[in-house]
Structures are given as structure tokens and as C-alpha cells.
């Protein structure tokens, strides 16, 4: 799609100490501006794949390159900086601290980026506006619906304008309507240029995304692209 891919996995293996091979020789490239679903049953290794792309985990062998940087050559501090600046995460759990305002929760998405508090807060307003939550700046998580809470988590993930947004079952804790709301947001962000990888076991959601990578037993079984209507 574009010349320089955001994520490159080259013959990546991940073996856990107990001998479980979660990822077996996966090679995949994700280009800039893509919206990709990684689909597979639980235990298929899709979460491990996401952790590897997000540099939260290191491959046992093989190379992971994120936004041009080879993860294997970076220490904890550099990897953390890479996550702070280039990668955003959305999890199935919203991970929103109680009693903190929406704006401050999103601003904390930049806590480890080195920006001063005032700039972090200003950018939080922008990210919340992008996620359609500009009317909820002072609300606390318990005053928001589930869908709104997950959208706050998305705002926190994109507040640093990351090159890559990784979403691990982002609709797993939501009802269908709220889930659709979050997926609409992700589509919108992708249309604005963000590269997004969504992990899901929901075929319906996977079918709605332009590229689907199916995973089973740690291997890619299919990688299908669909020209959008």
C-alpha cells in the first residue's frame, strides 16, 4: 500500500518457558494507513502477536521492526520511549482510574512522553474531540456509558498521534450497540490516517475490516485483503 511498512514481523517465533509455542514462524507486513483484523479462536496466539507488535513482549527468534526500529536492538528505556511516542493500546478492559476526570485520564496517555502537563491537557481535549467526547471532559468514568468509557480509552491511546494503534478485543466488554459505536470510531480514525490493528474473535467485526489475518495455533492461516466497496 505504502512504501514503508509500520510493522514488519520476519519469521517470528515466541516460545514460553514452559515449552508452549505461542507464535510459530510468523512473517507479516502492515503498511501505513491500514486497518487490519487479526482473527482467531482463543489460544491461537493472536494476543501474543499483538504484544510482539506492541513491543510489550520480545520474540524468541526472528525480527520485529516497528516504525523503522528493530525491537531486538533496543533496551527497556528505548522500547518504552517507542511505546510512549509511536504505539497506542486499547484493551478489552478499559483501565480507567476511578475518580479522575476524562481529560486527565487522556492527558496521562502522554505522561511518559516528556510533555509538560499543560500541553498534555491541551492535547487531551483535541483527542477527546476527535473521539466525539468533547462534552465529557470533566466527567468521571462512572458517569459514562460502557461505550463512552472505551472511547475515552481510545482517546488516551491516540492522544500522542501514534504511528500504530493496537486494539485487543476492544468490543469484548461491550454490548452490540456500544461495540458498533467503538468500531465506527476506529474506522473514522483510520480514515484520518491512523494505522490500526484490531484483535478479535468476532467474525462479524473482522468481516467489516479491509484486511483480515486469520491465526490458528500460532501460525497465519490466511491473509485476505478486500477491496472496499
Amino acid at each position: 500500500m505504502t512504501d514503508e511498512p509500520v510493522v514488519v514481523l520476519d519469521d517470528v517465533w515466541r516460545t514460553y518457558p514452559a515449552g508452549v509455542r505461542a507464535v510459530r514462524g510468523v512473517s507479516v507486513r502492515i503498511g501505513r494507513g491500514e486497518l487490519v483484523a487479526i482473527v482467531g479462536p482463543s489460544g491461537s496466539g493472536k494476543s501474543t502477536l499483538l504484544h510482539l507488535m506492541g513491543t510489550l513482549d520480545r520474540p524468541s527468534s526472528g525480527a520485529v521492526v516497528v516504525d523503522g526500529m528493530d525491537v531486538g536492538t533496543l533496551g527497556d528505556r528505548r522500547l518504552s520511549a517507542l511505546r510512549a511516542h509511536r504505539i497506542g493500546f486499547v484493551f478489552q478492559q478499559f483501565h480507567l482510574p476511578v475518580g479522575v476526570s476524562t481529560q486527565d485520564i487522556v492527558a496521562d496517555g502522554l505522561l511518559y512522553s516528556g510533555l509538560p502537563l499543560a500541553r498534555r491537557r491541551a492535547r487531551a481535549v483535541r483527542a477527546l474531540t476527535d473521539c466525539g467526547l468533547d462534552h465529557r471532559l470533566a466527567h468521571r468514568p462512572n458517569q459514562l456509558s460502557g461505550g463512552e468509557q472505551q472511547r475515552v480509552a481510545v482517546a488516551r491511546a491516540i492522544v500522542g498521534t501514534p504511528a500504530l494503534l493496537l486494539a485487543d478485543e476492544p468490543t469484548g466488554n461491550l454490548d452490540t450497540r456500544s461495540g458498533a459505536e467503538v468500531m465506527r470510531l476506529l474506522h473514522g480514525l483510520n480514515a484520518a490516517g491512523t494505522t490500526i490493528v484490531v484483535i478479535t474473535h468476532n467474525d462479524e467485526i473482522a468481516a467489516s475490516l479491509p484486511r483480515r489475518i486469520a491465526v490458528r495455533d500460532g501460525e497465519i492461516v490466511s491473509d485476505s485483503r478486500e477491496t472496499q466497496a
Binding site: H51, L56, D67, R77, R78, S80, A84, H95, L111, L117
Partner: protein, 400 residues
């Protein structure tokens, strides 16, 4: 193409904000574990504060009374009988070069004091009758609380000045010409009551009468039993060396020389050693408080694995996670320490005020308390913080 990104540092202000919000999320637990530290620090500050307030009071008192008073009293003879000082010994002592004033009292052997003549003889209340020289008050450094002191005229007549305890025992609040006591088998008019004499406590339970009347009416032999003298501070040691020989040249070994201010200081020192014990108890409380903080932090790390995972995903380094939990432990323990100092100073102030002592809490006690809490916080937080930092991000995220 992107260069290697610079790893950011967490600004001190952000660190405090993050750790404070961590504590705010669990207020009751924070309160309880800070309380442990507060009790320990409070106890220690109060012990130091109270004992230094007591020391300050003693110093003020010694300052007022002076430490240059020496007393010479008759001891025992070689055979164990009560010795006597020569009748002229007060004058002899007064003649020693540096001595600025000297006075004396003589015990009137058999005389007893009663409120009136109907009191059974055996209920004498332990009151001693002393014949006194007229310059006694200036030398001893005490004053008349009520009435007047003896003068050349009243010293010849049955007039008595009562010590502070004597007046209390006899139930006499004020001296007046109408108040009489049954002293040595005759009526004596109470013309004065003394203040307490901290440097001569033997005066507190005595009834003082003039030297002439004691000799004339009470069978007093004229031998002083105690001599009081003052000299400049620099000469006290030198005077002390010659006092025994001056007072009783024939048998200086029968003379006891003492410095009453030493006894006051010794009593204070005895209190100090007790304070040391209490300080130890406070230290144990502080240690237990520190363990409480460590325990709280360990539990906190276990509970907050999800948060740790999220922060790692947001780009926190291991070091930043470690700093966060360390700062939380520090903040928690300093919170306890500061409340402890407030409690300790408050307790000292309350205790000292009820006793009319000056309130003194040394700066080193407050500084030491805060340093100690910071140290305890750091120690208590170290292990939990390292555990939090070692947690692998994937494991942390997976647990929620």
C-alpha cells in the same frame, strides 16, 4: 526514517502527582498505615520534647537559684554519734576569701511544734525546729511567701517563721499576729511563712526561730548544724576544698560538704535515663509502622498489576514504575511522619503547659523524625517497587 527516540524522564511534579493519586485511591488503607508511623514518631518526639522541656525548666531554675551554694553540715563522729560544728564555725566560713555570704541554722534538739497545746505529743508531724541566723534567706535564695522574716528584735522573742511544708501540715495559710503555734512547750507567734527552698529542702519542713530566743527559751546549745555559703562560680571548687577544715579545724572528717544544685541535676539525670527507655519503645512502634507501610505497598503492587501493565503500555520504563511505587511509599511514610511530629509537639505542649514548664522541642528531634520517616519509607518501598518494576508488561496486562 525515524531516529532512536529519546527516553523521557518523569518530572518530579508528575511523580508526586502520580503517587499522590495512587494513595488517594485507597484513603482508608493509607490513613491506617500512616497512623502506624505517626504513633511511633509522635511518641519519640513527645519523649524528647518532654524531657528537654523538663531540662529547660531545671536549667531555668538552676539559673535563678544559682549553682554556687555549698552547704556544710555536721556528720557523724568516729564512733557514730552525731557530730557538732563549733559555735564560731559560721563566722570562720564567712572569713574564707572568696565567700560572699554565709549563714547557718542550728537544730534545736528536743523542741517539737504543734498547732496547739492539746495535740498529743507523738503527733509532731516530723517538723524540725531550727534556730536561724538573720541572713539565711539571702544566702539560701528563698523568700517569704506571707508575713515577714525575723529581725534583730523578733529574734529575741517567741516568733517563728514556718517552712512551706510546715505551714501546710499545721494548716496555716497566712502569717498574722493572731496565729500562734505550740513550739517547744510555749506559744510562738507565726510572723512569716517561707516559699519553697529548692536548694535547701530541709527548710521546707522546719519552723525557724531566732538564735537568741532558741538559746534562752528552748535550750539550744548554740552549735550550728548546717552552714550555707555562696562564693563566685569560679571559686566554688576552691572553697569546697577548704570548707571542712575551716568549719571544724579539729575534726574536719566529721563535716559533710555538699552542693545542693548537684542533687537537683542528678534527679533530672535519673529522669533522662527513663526517657531513654521510652525512646526505645517509640523506636519499636516506628519499626512496626514501617513494616505496616511495606505490607501496604506489597499488597498495593499485587492489586495494581493491571495499572502497572497499562503504564508500561503507555511507555513507562521499569525505572519509572519503580520510582512511582517508591515515591508512594515515601509519601505515605512522610505523611505519617509529619502527623507524628504534630502529635508529638502537641503532646509536649499539653504536658509542659500543665506543669508550667517552658515548651521546648529541639530542632534535631523534628529533623531527625522526618529523616527517619523518609528512610523508613524508602526502605519499606524498595522491595515492593522493585517487584512492580520487574513485572513483565504482558503478564501484568493478562491478570486483569
Amino acid at each position: 526514517m525515524t531516529d532512536v527516540l529519546p527516553p523521557a524522564r518523569l518530572a518530579a511534579r508528575d511523580l508526586v502527582r502520580v503517587s499522590a493519586s495512587g494513595l488517594r485511591a485507597r484513603p482508608l488503607r493509607v490513613l491506617l498505615s500512616a497512623l502506624g508511623i505517626a504513633i511511633g514518631i509522635g511518641a519519640m518526639v513527645a519523649v524528647v520534647g518532654i524531657s528537654s522541656s523538663s531540662q529547660a525548666r531545671l536549667n531555668a531554675e538552676l539559673n535563678r537559684l544559682g549553682t554556687n551554694l555549698l552547704t556544710v553540715s555536721a556528720g557523724k563522729t568516729l564512733f557514730g554519734d552525731n557530730a557538732k560544728l563549733p559555735a564560731e564555725s559560721v563566722r570562720m566560713v564567712a572569713r574564707v576569701g572568696p565567700v560572699t555570704s554565709a549563714s547557718g541554722t542550728g537544730k534545736v534538739g528536743d523542741a517539737r511544734v504543734y498547732r496547739n497545746d492539746r495535740i498529743p505529743a507523738d503527733r509532731s508531724g516530723g517538723i524540725v525546729v531550727l534556730a536561724t541566723r538573720l541572713d539565711l534567706l539571702g544566702t539560701v535564695g528563698t523568700d517569704v511567701a506571707s508575713g515577714t522574716w525575723l529581725n534583730a528584735a523578733t529574734a529575741r522573742y517567741p516568733a517563728a517563721v514556718l517552712g512551706a511544708d510546715t505551714a501546710r501540715i499545721l494548716g496555716i495559710a497566712h502569717a498574722s499576729p493572731e496565729v500562734q503555734v505550740w513550739l517547744g512547750g510555749r506559744w510562738f507567734t507565726v510572723i512569716g511563712i517561707l516559699d519553697r527552698a529548692p536548694l535547701a529542702p530541709e527548710l521546707d519542713n522546719a519552723a525557724l526561730v531566732g538564735w537568741p530566743v532558741a538559746q534562752a527559751a528552748l535550750g539550744f546549745d548554740g552549735h550550728p548544724s548546717t552552714i550555707y555559703e555562696r562564693s563566685p562560680d569560679s571559686a566554688v571548687a576552691a572553697v569546697r576544698d577548704v570548707l571542712a577544715r575551716t568549719a571544724n579545724p579539729e575534726s574536719p572528717e566529721e563535716v559533710v560538704v555538699s552542693r545542693p544544685s548537684d542533687a537537683l541535676a542528678a534527679r533530672a539525670a535519673a529522669n533522662q535515663s527513663f526517657a531513654g527507655l521510652l525512646l526505645g519503645v517509640g523506636a519499636v512502634a516506628l519499626l512496626v509502622g514501617g513494616i505496616g507501610v511495606a505490607n501496604t505497598m506489597v499488597i498495593s503492587v499485587l492489586e495494581r498489576r493491571g495499572e502497572i501493565g497499562l503504564r508500561r503500555a503507555l511507555g513507562a520504563t521499569r525505572g519509572m514504575i519503580r520510582s512511582q511505587f517508591l515515591a508512594e511509599a515515601l509519601l505515605l511514610s512522610v505523611l505519617g511522619g509529619v502527623s507524628g511530629v504534630v502529635i508529638g509537639v502537641g503532646a509536649t505542649a499539653a504536658f509542659a503547659t500543665t506543669r508550667d514548664w517552658p515548651v521546648t522541642v529541639p530542632a534535631y528531634a523534628i529533623g531527625g523524625a522526618l529523616v527517619a520517616t523518609a528512610l523508613i519509607g524508602a526502605l519499606a518501598g524498595l522491595y515492593p517497587a522493585m517487584r512492580a518494576a520487574r513485572l513483565s508488561p504482558t503478564e501484568a496486562i493478562a491478570t486483569t
